[in-house]
């Protein structure tokens, strides 16, 4: 196959560099790792919560082995003075409460010579794969410390240590622990003591670059995961019915929505499979209730026939695809942007539909809300391409601006004369009669139909309805939401989804070094518009497309759909490792100086 991809980028794509760039001084990356039962995820969460209390920003990414219980796990935390939405290039601190199989995370926890590894000498030697980085190893008897405090957990010692090294005060760390504690008082007392012991132990790690005190945050900040943000965005948009079939990594979105929907007067049905869930939301939406389901690649594959039905019957639905490594069962708990091709072109027939993608964890809210608005306004299915990284990571973000995107469907009034559900209007949008409305009854159909909704195989009806369904999407004014655009310069990098965050960070670094590259992070992936690209790329001579998948899917899609200036190039590599700002900065620099 002729790969339209530059050789340099390909080399980078096949072997992500383990060489770590110097860590940005304004952020601190901390990994807390160990075997199941040690509570490293809880420690990571509390570290993030304490940092939030201290006025910092940050995010936490989870990684774990395939075991449901007992397996190795690591909380990857990055803290900073300003909002961060991507993991850094290397970790400043690795705290391992044991070493059992922590070496399996070596690729996910890159270290450098400035890094510090705190491990328990009693738990065996630091694995070579970590030592090879040249990181300083500081053995501390974490287990012994925890054991000396009956009823305490070792993860609290690790939290105290990591928190103190981050420059967090004992007060915020204790407050975070107290706030999250749901067990007995004696346990809390023991764990507070363990926390303090961990803080005290931090003094044995000298010359560690702690983050300075944060400036008091100006506005309210939120702490949430992309899955929660998407769920909340859906409710803000007006979704009141959800059908759910569990699948990693989308389950938490659905689980968050179950009680939330009940509070705001909506309902959630657990479906028997994804075939059912997509058809359930089509049924509910046909009844006039904005509806959503969430899934991952395998579920989306099962839903495609239903999504086609939503296209043909012009029923608004929202399907959130929290992408994971594919194909097939793939890598369920790891991120990859590899459902793009399928999402934009996986339906049979000519089936215009909406595909949008959040550009950060926090943006999952606005983008999902926008998707609800678009689906309802355009009476079409909208796919939201989130991914495991955004969905399952938690971040401290500035309170999102209130957006006005709500479900507003054009509906038919009672007894209007000569009502035709699929009338070929100028905008392509025709009033939808909602069951219960007298005098405008109709049958929605997945069969090609006349304007009145009667099945038809006539060439004229087919052409007319195909045009109508395309036109309504193409004519819509998507405004500024179609992409996040930043910076200036004769070169532009186009990306989407979770790749946008590390790209943004890479460009900021390059800007500080005097290299200016434009960023276009696409939020609207379908339909695309040449005019919007022409405007955004005015003055641009070269384009690089960056994404996290093996097949350069966005690159190929853009090449097929849009006339891009110059000789477009691709930077792409598959999951499960996240794209890192340093790796992108190197690739962009190499490309931009060519």
């Amino acid at each position: 196959m002729d790969m339209p991809v530059g050789t340099e980028e390909r080399a980078a794509a096949s072997a992500p560099s383990r060489r770590a760039s110097p860590v940005a001084s304004s952020s601190l990356s901390i990994a807390i790792a160990g075997s199941g039962g040690s509570g490293v995820m809880t420690a990571g969460m509390l570290l993030l919560e304490a940092a939030a209390k201290a006025g910092l920003y940050g995010l936490m990414v989870r990684t774990s082995g395939p075991q449901i219980r007992g397996g190795e796990a690591a909380a990857l935390v990055r803290l900073a003075h300003r909002p961060v939405a991507a993991l850094g290039d290397a970790f400043d601190l690795l705290v391992a409460v044991d070493w059992q199989n922590v070496h399996r995370f070596a690729d996910e926890i890159p270290l450098c010579e400035n890094s510090v590894i705190v491990g328990d000498a009693g738990e065996g030697d630091t694995p070579d794969v970590f030592r090879a980085s040249g990181a300083r190893v500081v053995p501390l008897p974490l287990k012994k410390i925890a054991k000396s405090i009956p009823g305490s957990w070792i993860n609290m010692v690790a939290l105290g240590l990591a928190g103190a090294l981050s420059g967090l005060s004992a007060a915020v760390l204790e407050a975070a622990l107290r706030q999250s504690w749901k067990r007995d008082d004696a346990g809390l007392a023991a764990n507070l003591e363990a926390l303090r012991a961990g803080i005290a132990a931090a003094s044995q790690v000298d010359a560690f670059p702690t983050l300075g005190a944060a400036k008091p945050a100006r506005g309210t900040r939120w702490l949430l995961s992309g899955n929660e943000a998407a769920g909340y965005g859906a409710l803000c948009g007006g979704v009141r019915f959800v059908a759910a079939y569990p699948i990693t990594p989308a389950t938490e979105l659905l689980e968050w929505m179950a009680p939330a929907l009940a509070k705001v007067g909506g309902t959630l049905v657990q479906a028997e499979d994804e075939l059912a869930s997509v058809n359930m939301i089509i049924g509910a939406s046909y009844g006039g209730v904005p509806s959503l389901t969430a899934t991952a690649g395998p579920g989306l594959a099962l839903m495609t026939e239903g999504i086609g039905l939503a296209v043909a019957s012009e029923t608004p639905i929202v399907v959130v695809d929290v992408m994971r490594g594919g194909p097939s069962t793939g890598i369920p708990a790891k991120s990859e942007q590899s459902d793009l091709s399928f999402a934009v072109s996986g339906l049979h027939g000519d089936a215009p539909h909406l595909v949008v993608a959040p550009t950060s964890i926090g943006d999952c809210l606005a983008t999902t809300q926008w998707a609800v608005h678009l689906a309802e306004a355009l009476q079409a299915p909208a796919l939201v391409l989130s991914d495991q990284f955004m969905g399952q990571s938690r971040a401290i973000v500035d309170e999102p601006a209130q957006s006005t995107w709500v479900a507003r469907r054009l509906t038919a009034t009672a007894n209007v004369p000569d009502y035709k559900r699929y009338r070929d209007t100028e905008s392509g949008i025709s009033p939808m009669a909602i069951p219960g409305t007298p005098g405008v009854v109709y049958t929605a159909d997945g069969l090609e139909h006349t304007e009145g909704g009667i099945p038809s195989s006539q060439a004229r009806d087919h052409a007319r309805q195909l045009d109508k369904r395309l036109r309504k999407l193409v004519l819509h004014d998507y405004g500024e939401m179609w992409a996040d655009r930043e910076g200036s310069g004769e070169r532009a990098i186009i990306t989407f989804g979770s790749a946008a965050s590390p790209v943004r960070e890479a460009l900021r670094r390059l800007r500080e070094r005097g290299t200016h590259v434009r960023l276009i992070a696409l939020r609207l992936l379908a339909p695309l518009s040449q005019e919007r690209f022409d405007e955004a790329l005015a003055g641009v001579s070269q384009v690089l497309v960056a994404e996290q998948n093996h097949g350069a899917q966005l690159y190929r899609y853009l090449r097929a759909m849009i006339d891009l200036p110059g000789k477009p190039r691709s930077f792409h590599r598959p999951g499960p490792l996240p794209l890192r700002p340093g790796e992108l900065a190197d690739a962009i620099l190499a490309w931009s100086t060519r």
């Binding site: 939030a52 909340y232 409710l235 509070k263 005098g439 909704g453």
Partner: protein
């Protein structure tokens, strides 16, 4: 289809649309359509408050032939679409209609779970033991030795017993009707619609094109020699020994109906922000 005055007295005709069915002359589905409209007239339901949901197949064409709201979806998924609709809009009367291939083969899993869920739906299966729309392939209810191009010499498979499966899966009302008895069928359908929870009505509806021998069904059917029972174990014995030609309500249970329905909002959406705000 839009000319029905809201206050006119409702007759079966009220519920019939202006569109002419594409079914073969002699097809049992004509009678079923007639029975459905009669049942709706008996219940005097405003047509705009009734939705007929279907999948794919000859019988699934029925929604457009009624003057109710209709949803003609994809093959096998009518129960799912109807479940979403009824849960989101409990004020509507939702009928689901389709054939044996649509309901028992491609839609088999949804059939089980719709019975289990016991949402207040009425599921009408026009069973002719054949895929008619694709021109004569065996369905789950086709006799094992029925010869066809796709399965020469027959499938050699045991026939599916929808009523037993419905009972075991939790359907709350189970009846068998015969299209050749439109008034009896209308009466059964009216009972089914009235009965709370998931009502399942299997209607023997001959396919005169691919199964002309089914014209003889009229000589084979008989009223079930028993009264409807609320006792599931009695119903099970009755259904397991049934030869497929007993007509009538065979089980009318009192299982709790699926409680899923939109509740009064207890909080505003913005109030949910509290869990994120620091």
């Amino acid at each position: 289809m839009n000319d029905v005055a809201p206050c006119a007295p409702r007759t079966a005709q009220t519920y019939k649309s202006a569109y002419k069915p594409i079914w073969c002359p002699g097809c049992g589905d004509y009678s079923v359509l007639s029975s459905v409209t009669k049942a709706l007239a008996m219940l005097d339901l405003p047509p705009e408050d009734v939705v007929v949901v279907s999948g794919i197949g000859c019988s699934s064409r029925i929604p457009a032939y009624t003057n109710c709201y209709g949803f003609h979806g994809v093959h096998g998924r009518s129960l799912a679409a109807a479940t979403g609709l009824k849960v989101a809009r409990p004020d509507l009367t939702v009928l689901v209609a389709g054939g044996d291939g649509d309901g028992y083969s491609i839609g088999g899993n949804h059939f089980l779970h719709a019975c289990r869920r016991n949402v207040d739906l009425t599921y009408i299966v026009m069973d002719n033991h054949v895929y008619g729309m694709t021109k004569g392939q065996p369905s789950p209810t086709t006799e094992p030795d029925w010869d066809s191009k796709l399965s020469p010499g027959g499938t050699k498979l045991r026939v599916f017993h929808p009523l037993v499966v419905a009972l075991a899966s939790g359907a709350n009302f189970i009846a068998r009707a015969f299209s050749g008895d439109p008034n009896g069928t209308a009466d059964i359908l009216a009972q089914a619609i009235r009965h709370p929870g998931f009502s399942f009505v299997e209607i023997l509806s001959p396919c005169v094109t691919f199964r002309p021998e089914q014209r003889e069904w009229k000589t084979q059917v008989r009223p079930a020699p028993v009264e409807p029972t609320t006792d599931a174990s009695r119903a099970a014995r009755r259904l397991m020994t049934d030869d497929g030609f007993n007509i009538g309500v065979l089980y009318a249970g009192d299982r709790p109906v699926c409680p899923l329905a939109p509740a009064e909002p207890r909080s505003r959406v913005e109030d949910l922000e509290a869990e994120f705000a620091l």
